[in-house]
Amino acid sequence: MGEPKIIDARGTYCPGPLMELIANIKQADIGDELEVLSTDEGSAKDIPEWIRKVGHELVGTRQVENVWHVVIRKAK
């Protein structure tokens, strides 16, 4: 398994971390991992909520200083 594709959405407001993930996950293959970097605290909740609803896999979430890292695996 390769390194996750990094989506660096730190310091961005529009379209924002979740929409960046939605745009990028379309271009990924099933099984690919994507890691969203965000300075928006809400992303740590919004992204897992969407992943659950759509049926992708949440690999993990961690906070490093003021940056949230949310790792997702494309499941379908």
Partner: protein, 377 residues
């Protein structure tokens, strides 16, 4: 230094004119040259399409002759690029010519692609091209009432369009006297009504007053033509009589074909605007993969920063500033009111309540734009 700009849209045109003004002396003395390659001899004011789709701006008002917008120092050719040979610092165009460069700027924009979602193109209308806006106008003016669905694909240019098209259509149907027979269903891909949190909160209040139904976390999966039923990736559906889409976008085909970026969007450094891995190739406007708004103002501010930097490289040998992520978007809010969202990488937007003064400023800007394109504003 030979500067080659590929793309004659907002970003490319503002950059070319900005550079031509800064480098007049260098160009006259043969130390710099600016060439632009575009697919079209016309320049379109794309924000005008929001008005075209409700019959308020005729298509011919959207265009100006591209050559007439450019400073005379710019060598301009209607000869789109087909091959990028970045290792050789050259591009090959449709006519078969090769153009060499010292610095390349790619500003090829993005395009709405409703056909990438099954059933969307044939069952919806949108305002992203002249033809689509006219098709939408015909459906809108013949609409006698029923359910109007607004669905939004990702990514898309002009981030305010989902809200603006809703407000503009609501006003249009009210003026037509069918507001009481029309039900709006607005959907949005994330868990609020807009990507900007405070814009989304403001829209909630406006939509509640207007009786507009909403569904969030709604990403279009496919559209059934029989009954115009839109199904979402999240397992929900809406049915409508008139389906308005904000289609997902891709970059231009030439970008993907040349392996410059997935989806036609080129990996770009958010401050220097350099293409990742390339010292002498820059990207501005919708063509970047940057996580910022795909908007005309983004292209405009990027062009200004890059213009300053390229001119400084010619004059002093190095760039002078970073692009700070600045974006400015008007939001037409209906009933002759508007507001705006202005932000950058370090400062979130804080839009004020819409008012008539900002709406009339937007109306004036629809004409001032041509001065912006010339690099004057």
């Amino acid at each position: 230094m030979r500067i080659l700009i590929v793309g004659g849209g907002m970003g490319g045109t503002i950059l070319a004119n900005n550079l031509a003004r800064r480098l007049k002396s260098e160009i006259r003395h043969g130390k710099a040259a600016i060439t632009m390659l575009s697919a079209s001899d016309r320049h379109m004011y794309q924000p005008g399409l929001l008005y075209t789709c409700v019959g308020r701006m005729a298509p011919d008002e959207l265009y100006r002759d591209q050559a007439n917008l450019l400073e005379p120092e710019i060598e301009f050719h209607v000869d789109p690029v087909e091959e990028f040979n970045l290792d050789a610092n050259s591009v090959k165009s449709r006519s078969g010519k090769s153009y060499g460069y010292d610095s390349l700027v790619i500003a090829t924009g993005s395009r709405a692609m409703p056909e990438t979602i099954p059933g969307l193109a044939e069952n919806s209308v949108n305002c992203y091209t002249e033809q689509n806006a006219l098709d939408m106008w015909r459906q809108v003016k013949n609409f006698k009432g029923g359910k109007v669905g607004i669905v939004v694909g990702v990514p898309h240019k002009c981030p305010m369009i989902p809200l603006e098209i809703t407000f503009v259509l609501h006003d249009y149907f009210a003026a037509k006297g069918i507001a009481d027979k029309t039900e709006f269903h607005y959907t949005y891909p994330i868990g609020r009504l807009h990507s900007l949190e405070n814009v989304g909160k403001w829209a909630e209040g406006e939509f509640a007053k207007m009786g507009i139904k909403t569904k969030t976390l709604f990403n279009i999966k496919n559209v059934e033509g029989n009954g115009k039923i839109v199904h979402s990736e999240e397992g929900e559906s809406i049915q409508c009589d008139l389906l308005i889409s904000v289609p997902p976008h891709k970059g231009m085909e030439v970008i993907e074909k040349n392996g410059l970026g997935k989806g036609g969007f080129i990996p770009t450094d958010r401050h220097s605007l350099r293409m990742e891995g390339r010292d002498n190739v820059y990207v501005i406007g919708d063509t970047t993969n940057l996580p910022i708004s795909k908007a005309g103002s983004t292209a405009h501010f990027e062009a200004e920063a890059l213009g300053e930097n390229l001119a400084a490289i010619v004059k002093f040998g190095e760039p002078v500033r970073d692009y700070d992520g600045k974006v400015f978007c008007f939001i037409e809010a209906g009933k002759d009111r508007a507001t705006y969202a202005m932000f950058d990488y370090g400062h979130p937007p804080a839009p004020k309540a819409p008012n008539k003064a900002v709406h009339w400023f937007k109306m004036a800007y629809n004409q001032f734009y041509w001065a912006s394109a010339r690099g004057l504003l």
